[in-house]
């Protein structure tokens, strides 16, 4: 397996040249006063070295060995314990957390980029710190001061990990069906009883405690989503002095045997009158859980991107190295990268990866503004944009991420199908990212039915306006005229469909549902086009000072506009076909 090299250059390019992060965002936020370009570079470089040197070497072996479940105990594959210890000792788990709970207080943007690197190096590993961060964020946002003081510092440091107990056998995408019960105890705590499935990092041997956040119903709670509360249940009780006490009555039923992420223990967790504490208000559990889920959805998007990057690195190195066949017009055997069709595979991968990373940085910077910008109006606008684009990041980056992993496998031919090259593992590992944290189908429903109507449609209009501004600029620049013109047409088509979904002939639940996945993909492609145009414009502006990296952006941007963006027209046709053909065949006939 070729080595992984973190794409720090491209990340710094996005931060410094495309989005001017230090000047436009970090310097405006008092908490980030000390975040200089120089510090950002050091953090990304060292994170990249850590991921390549510590996490990547146990990726294939972890997949082969898998997590173990024996006598009620879960253990991780060889090397994971040591790697997790280096990860937490290195302070990486506390990167973006508030110094109030012993975090490093660095921007979310850095955290998002480090997540991409971790996902490239070892997706299974990344889920341990990833879920801990999500759980810690939900506790920070919704739990009582007492719970925060008791649990957060050790979760922030990574000494304890977190897990999310949402899904049950008959409550998956529809959490209103949750059956786990919570009974009040005399001391103000609760007894939680029920069984949760698909619990990533539910139990393991990496840390001494696991903090479960569990959705359950209080007695006489209203039916549906408005009757669900969130509880904190530690695997091991924490004494008043912070030391660990007796174990809680939480047990692992089994771990799942899955297509991918073998090193990650996906647990069935049984809560048998386990003691738990309410997080947030009674019956407002889903609201609290959404804090965790939004962070987790961004993480999952980065997983899709990270896998794609890792697969591309192997595929491009292989394509340059592999001597096979003669390229059209060539007289001698050459490397397969000379073949137009292989180039199409690699360029399609790049067309996604570099625009996907740009989108991630864009949203991450909005996330930093949402969290800490001193101007309330800036915070509100950022919050809306993050809400709009969260399903696009989650589903867009994982759908294209999976497709990219498949292309990267294809480039290697038979070697792509063999375990030792790692490409088939990327395909298997990427597949879950389209499924968990809300399937990509659910994400597209979220985009169409919840996010397009935000603020009466003004949020999406604001976003399309940003795209329109760059198109207008691009149309005045000869070198990017073709890219800008093609994007203009695609955006016009998307706006037309958007309007029909909001208030036209498609603005009803049936048509919206039928259109959603195609719509999200078209939305993603237009968004990528916007980012390619922005990058291409920078290349042109730099003129003679353009580096090879800059020049590459212009060429890949042109490829994207010519060969990837036109997919939107097929999607528009699909949406326009409406629900008729989907509903015609009777359910019994399937």
């Amino acid at each position: 397996m070729p080595d992984y090299k973190a794409p720090v250059d491209d990340m710094l390019y996005l931060l410094n040249e495309v989005f001017n992060a230090e000047e436009n965002v970090f310097s405006k936020i008092p908490q980030y006063n000390e975040v200089s370009n120089d510090l950002v570079q050091s953090v990304l470089e060292e994170a990249g070295r850590f991921c390549a040197g510590v996490l990547r070497p146990i990726n294939i072996s972890g997949d082969q060995e898998g997590a173990h479940f024996k006598d009620g105990k879960v253990t991780t594959p060889k090397g994971f314990k040591e790697a997790y210890a280096s990860y937490t000792e290195g302070g990486w788990s506390s990167l973006a957390f508030s110094p109030e709970y012993e975090g490093q207080g660095l921007p979310r943007t850095l955290q998002v980029l480090v997540k991409e690197m971790i996902s490239s190096a070892n997706l299974s590993f990344g889920l341990f710190p990833g879920l801990t961060e999500g759980a810690a964020e939900a506790i920070e946002a919704h739990a009582s001061e007492e719970l925060k003081q008791k649990y957060l510092p050790n979760m922030v440091s990574g000494k304890w990990t977190g897990a999310m107990g949402l899904t049950e056998g008959s409550a998956g995408s529809d959490l209103s069906l949750v059956k786990t019960r919570a009974k009040p105890r005399d001391d103000g705590s609760y007894s939680i009883s029920g069984s949760k499935i698909f619990i990533s990092s539910g139990d393991h041997d990496l840390a001494e405690n696991v903090i479960h956040l569990v959705l359950a119903r209080l007695p006489e709670a209203p039916a549906g989503t408005k009757g669900i509360s969130l509880f904190l249940c530690p695997k091991i009780f924490v004494n008043e002095d912070g030391s660990l006490g007796a174990p809680n009555t939480i047990s692992v039923g089994t771990i799942e045997h899955k297509m991918g992420i073998h090193a990650q223990p996906t647990c069935v967790m049984n809560f048998d009158e386990a003691q738990g504490w309410l997080v947030g208000e009674p019956n407002r559990g889903l609201n609290a859980m959404f804090t965790m889920m939004n962070a987790a959805r961004l993480l999952v998007g980065m997983q899709g991107l990270g896998i794609a990057e890792a697969s591309y690195q192997t595929a491009s190195a292989y394509a340059k190295d592999r001597l096979q066949g003669r390229a059209p017009g060539a007289r001698e055997t050459g490397s397969i990268i000379e073949h137009p069709d292989v180039r199409k595979q690699l360029l399609t991968m790049l067309g996604f990866i570099e625009a996907g990373r740009a989108l991630a940085v864009y949203v991450a910077l909005e996330l930093d503004k949402e969290g800490f910008h001193p101007d309330a109006a800036v915070r509100a606008r950022a919050s809306s944009l993050v809400a709009l684009l969260t399903p696009v990041i989650k589903a867009g980056l994982t759908d294209f991420g999976f497709e990219t992993a498949v292309l990267g496998q294809q480039t290697l031919g038979g070697h792509g199908y063999i375990h030792e090259w790692g490409q088939e593992q990327f395909v298997r590992d990427a597949r879950i990212t389209q499924i968990y944290e809300g399937t990509n189908g659910i994400q597209s429903q979220d985009l169409v039915t919840r996010k397009l109507p935000l603020d009466g449609g003004k949020v999406v209009a604001d976003f399309f306006g940003q795209i329109g501004n760059v198109i207008a600029e691009g149309k005045g620049v000869a070198e990017v005229l073709s890219l800008a013109t093609q994007l203009e047409a695609a955006l016009a088509g998307l706006q037309k469909i958007t309007l029909r979904l909001q208030s036209g002939d498609l603005a009803n639940p049936l048509e919206q549902n039928a259109a959603a996945t195609a719509y999200l993909r078209a939305f993603t492609l237009v968004t990528f086009g916007w980012l390619w145009l922005r990058m291409a414009l920078i290349t042109v502006k730099k003129g003679a000072a353009a580096t090879p990296h800059d020049k590459r952006k212009l060429l890949v941007g042109e490829f994207f506009a010519a060969r990837m963006l036109p997919q939107v027209y097929g999607l528009f046709h699909e949406i326009e076909a409406g629900s008729t053909t989907l509903m015609a065949l009777a359910s019994a006939e399937f």
């Binding site: 250059d9 000390e34 050091s42 090879p548």
Partner: protein, 249 residues
């Protein structure tokens, strides 16, 4: 108490393939990643381990080069060095001149030990440590693979042809380190952040009054010749003939 001076150099990152400049005067360093010389990273790591074990009190990293050479100092500071000295120049400084400047730094800093990488991976000169020891008239041990600091002395195991040699040097002394001495740590996030606040004193090279005019002339730098395609022979006799012609038999 022991104070350690660790000279470090910024070089082309060891992961990258060196490309020769089109005018063949040297290696092209524009728009490429530069990093701390890997052997120097090992010497900083060893100094930090001694400090963590309570055997050293202060670690000073020093680099000679352009403003960008600060990056090498910051890498050393992130591992755990206490402060840095940047001696600025945009000129090429040959190993003997580096040693002369370092000797001056030793005069002011008065370290008990100087740890250097055995060589820098850019020009592989392998001269600076030896020259420095000679100029200072200090004992030296090169290619250290283990190092034990004792009272007023350092015991060094060296990797030499045919085995290991163990030397005991009275302090102050110069030690150059080899690959197997230790495995440098990954800097922790809090240390990376702290390293940005550690002091770096900048001095101009002219202040040292050393003539740094190169004594060597680079005539041409070129890539290693690519291997020529082989030939197929029909018989063993033909093979032997060819080997004779090539002068190998």
């Amino acid at each position: 108490m022991t104070k350690i001076l660790v000279p470090v150099k910024l070089v082309l990152d060891y992961n990258l393939k060196a490309r020769v400049k089109s005018d063949k005067t040297g290696i092209d360093l524009t728009n490429v990643k530069l990093s701390i010389n890997p052997f120097d990273e090992i010497s900083v790591e060893e100094a930090v381990r001694l400090k963590e074990a309570g055997k050293a009190t202060e670690i000073v990293v020093v680099s000679i080069g352009p403003a960008k050479a600060q990056d090498a100092l910051r890498s050393g500071l992130a591992i755990g060095a206490d402060r840095g000295i940047l001696i600025e120049t945009t000129e090429v400084v040959e190993p003997l001149n580096v040693a002369k400047i370092l000797a001056k730094v030793v005069e002011t800093e008065k370290p008990d030990l100087v740890f250097l990488g055995k060589q820098a991976i850019d020009d592989d000169s392998n001269q600076t440590g030896q020259s420095l020891a000679a100029l200072l008239d200090w004992p030296q041990a090169t290619f250290a693979s283990t190092l034990v600091l004792e009272d007023g002395a350092v015991q060094v195991t060296r990797e030499v042809d045919g085995g290991h040699q163990t030397l005991k040097l009275a302090l102050p002394a110069v030690v150059t380190v080899d690959l197997r001495l230790n495995e440098p740590r990954y800097p922790t996030l809090p240390n990376i952040m702290k390293s940005k606040k550690k002091p770096i004193a900048t001095q101009k090279i002219a202040e040292f009054g050393i003539d740094i005019t190169p004594r060597l002339k680079v005539i041409e730098v070129h890539e290693p010749p690519t291997r020529k395609a082989g030939i197929k022979v029909k018989t063993a006799a033909e093979l032997v003939d060819n080997l004779k012609k090539a002068g190998v038999l």
